[in-house]
């Protein structure tokens, strides 16, 4: 959890908006440090987190979260975190060794045309038994053991690389949004990585991750877009983050945009207004 980012987004683990879709994207940069921020943020807030770790192994996330003050293994044991480590389980599926029908979640690896239905079922199963509305309460109150459910996906572009069509990924994210955000009043954070310039007009149809980015930007409440500095490479400033609040839940339809520069440290990241980096001043 990065305290400066919490100040920028006006949230804290005790008080954050629910029912939000947060889109983290990058263009020729690496926005995965923001995913680690959100993971530790929601674990500290006491939410039930479902994490789809497509890009890296569990030990990587665990090692980084350790530095941010959260233990993923403990959270997994307590039941607060449900971690789907796709990298580990993908090998059997890709090499077609075992055809156990237990985990349907990775069906898309066997045949990308099938779509992400199995993955969505996995997500729904893990966020539904979050203890909200426990049966032994007599059905009176919906006091769950954990807070509202949160779905974190790192990252959606890997699904595109594995051959899943853009339409399937958009369907999957829409189904998850309805289930997690609208029905269960939880939050959802996804990461989409793009390449290339924004205004390139391709002759053929647009590149997959651009379409995915546009589709998700339309749906989300908050986007954080990470880019390199427009003036070039700098060792002290790693890039810029553009934070954009889209339609809010209240009546005022304000679209606020703010631009910050950031630098990633060993134990966090610092955000500052443009031109106020400590290396410059």
């Amino acid at each position: 959890m990065f305290p400066e980012l919490n100040a920028i987004l006006n949230t804290s683990p005790d008080n954050f908006k629910q029912g939000e879709l947060i889109l983290v994207s990058d263009r020729r940069a690496d926005a995965s440090f923001l995913v680690h921020h959100f993971l530790s943020f929601y674990l500290k807030a006491g939410c039930k987190v479902c994490f789809l770790g497509l890009a890296q192994s569990f030990s990587h996330y665990s090692a980084v979260s350790q530095r941010l003050g959260v233990s993923l293994t403990q959270a997994k044991e307590k039941g607060q975190l449900i971690f789907l480590e796709v990298l580990n389980e993908s090998l059997d599926v890709l090499l077609q060794k075992t055809s156990n029908t237990e985990s349907q979640a990775l069906d898309f690896l066997r045949d990308p045309a099938v779509g992400l239905r199995g993955l969505y079922d996995f997500v729904r199963a893990s966020v539904s038994d979050s203890g909200v509305g426990g049966e032994d309460d007599g059905g009176v109150g919906t006091v769950g053991r954990w807070g509202p459910p949160v779905l974190l996906v790192d990252d959606l572009t890997v699904l595109l690389s594995l051959g899943v069509s853009v339409g399937s990924v958009l369907d999957f994210s829409h189904y998850c949004f309805v289930t997690v955000c609208s029905q269960l009043k939880g939050n959802m954070v996804t990461l989409v990585r793009c390449e290339g310039e924004e205004d390139e007009d391709e002759d053929g149809d647009e590149e997959g991750s651009e379409r995915l980015l546009k589709g998700l930007t339309h749906q989300c409440c908050l986007t954080l877009h990470v880019q390199g500095l427009p003036t070039g490479f700098c060792r002290d400033i790693h890039g810029q983050v553009e934070v954009c609040w889209r339609k809010t839940q209240k009546d005022k339809p304000s679209n606020q945009r703010k631009l910050f520069q950031y630098k990633v440290h060993d134990k966090g990241a610092s955000f500052f207004a443009r031109g106020t980096s400590s290396a410059v001043l």
């Binding site: 192994s57 993908s90 890709l94 051959g163 390449e195």
Partner: protein, 384 residues
């Protein structure tokens, strides 16, 4: 295992001070923990490339080399990588669709085995005045580290067969494997073969602890070329654009759970679709691109006369931490000398005389050199 050393059950320090614990870890020859973050790293065979990617290649990661146009320097770097594996006693896995892996292995450069730190022993005359210092070793002036992590190779000679055959090498030659298999089975056959080798060799930790651990070096030259049955390089919109990326995902899954490291070269100059290249780069951990001056007009450009090509660092990974080890400078150039493959920061040669500079400055400005930061302002010769 891209996990840090701690997860292997040892208390390994980066300093030479070793605690007297009963550590069950058998240190693997040819590897050492990284100074920055404690990862286990191996040398790529090119010491300047090691320095660029943060000390060495972390075990469990992939290095992607985007080939230069004639595929000469990228093959050279791959041969350095394999030769380093032979010298460190690692096991090798080489997969190729074009040349037979055994042919590639006969062309490995010969190592320079005499100690590079010691200067010429020519002056063996007895010292007359400072005879007390006769038996002391000579002072090192070269910047060689005391622990021999990387080796140097002589490109003009081939490695001796005795040294080469001491290493255990597994080969995967595509024409022997593909029967009338459907398109794109070649990648899954390769992945299966790699997984078999890792399992049988015990690189994934399943071996009994009595057997000493070793690292598997995987070399994959010219992956993605049309010889692998892939039309990625042939068409703008390839029919199965995700076959190579699925293979890379499976490769990452295999490597993260075993003691192996992979270097692969891809002819990126043939791939028209830039988005696919972006996907490929993101699925590999380290990525560099070589751009040689051969055949282009930069070969005769006086700006580049000291170098053979440019080197671009496309990606540096974040392994188990938030930080990456970014290189200091992004404008780098390489030169293949007989005894060394050097990578240096691109710098302008000195302007020695007035007349020469006036003539050549117009050409240089037109060449739009990437290394310089001055804007090219046409061919005006300002004469004050």
């Amino acid at each position: 295992m891209a996990a840090p050393m701690k997860s292997m059950g040892s208390s390994f320090n980066a300093t030479s001070f070793q605690k007297k614990t009963r550590s069950k870890l058998i240190s693997i020859p040819g590897t050492r923990p990284s100074v920055q973050n404690g990862q286990l790293i191996v040398s790529t065979g090119v010491t300047s490339l090691d320095y660029l990617i943060g000390g060495g290649l972390a075990v469990g990661t992939v290095l992607l080399i985007e080939e230069d146009r004639y595929n000469s320097y990228s093959q050279m770097v791959l041969k350095y990588f394999m030769a380093e594996g032979v010298l460190c006693g690692h096991e090798l896995f080489l997969a190729s669709a074009q040349d037979h892996p055994d042919d590639i292995l006969t062309e490995l450069p010969a190592p320079i085995l005499d100690d590079i730190a010691s200067g010429p022993h020519a002056s063996q005359d007895a010292m007359k005045i400072a005879w007390r210092y006769q038996n002391l070793p000579k002072v090192q002036t070269a910047l060689a580290s005391s622990s021999r992590f990387g080796h140097y190779y002589d490109v003009s000679k081939k490695m001796e067969p005795e040294i080469r055959q001491a290493a255990n090498c597994h080969a995967f030659y595509l024409p022997e494997h593909s029967t009338e298999s459907p398109l794109l089975e070649s990648y899954s056959a390769l992945l299966r073969s790699i997984q078999e080798v890792i399992r049988k060799g015990g690189f994934d930790g399943a071996a009994p602890p009595a057997k000493s651990r070793n690292v598997l070096r995987i070399g994959l030259p010219s992956l993605g070329s049309p010889l692998w049955g892939d039309d990625l390089c042939c068409r703008d919109n390839p029919a199965h654009g995700h076959a190579l990326t699925t293979f890379l995902y499976g490769l990452r899954a295999v490597l993260r759970s075993s003691l192996s490291v992979a270097v692969l070269t891809i002819p990126s100059h043939l791939i028209q679709n830039r988005a696919v290249m972006g996907n490929i780069t993101r699925l590999c951990d380290n990525a560099i691109a070589l751009e040689s001056f051969k055949g282009s007009d930069r070969e005769t450009n006086p700006l580049y006369k000291d170098y053979h090509g440019l080197l671009h660092v496309r990606q540096v990974p974040r392994l188990n931490c938030l930080l990456t080890e970014l290189p200091d400078h992004k404008d780098l150039a390489f030169k293949l000398k007989r005894k060394q493959f050097t990578i240096e920061r691109l710098h302008l040669p000195p302007d020695l005389s007035e007349t020469v500079s006036r003539v050549s400055r117009g050409e240089l400005a037109g060449a739009a050199a990437t290394g310089t930061s001055c804007g090219s302002s046409g061919n005006k010769h300002l004469d004050f």
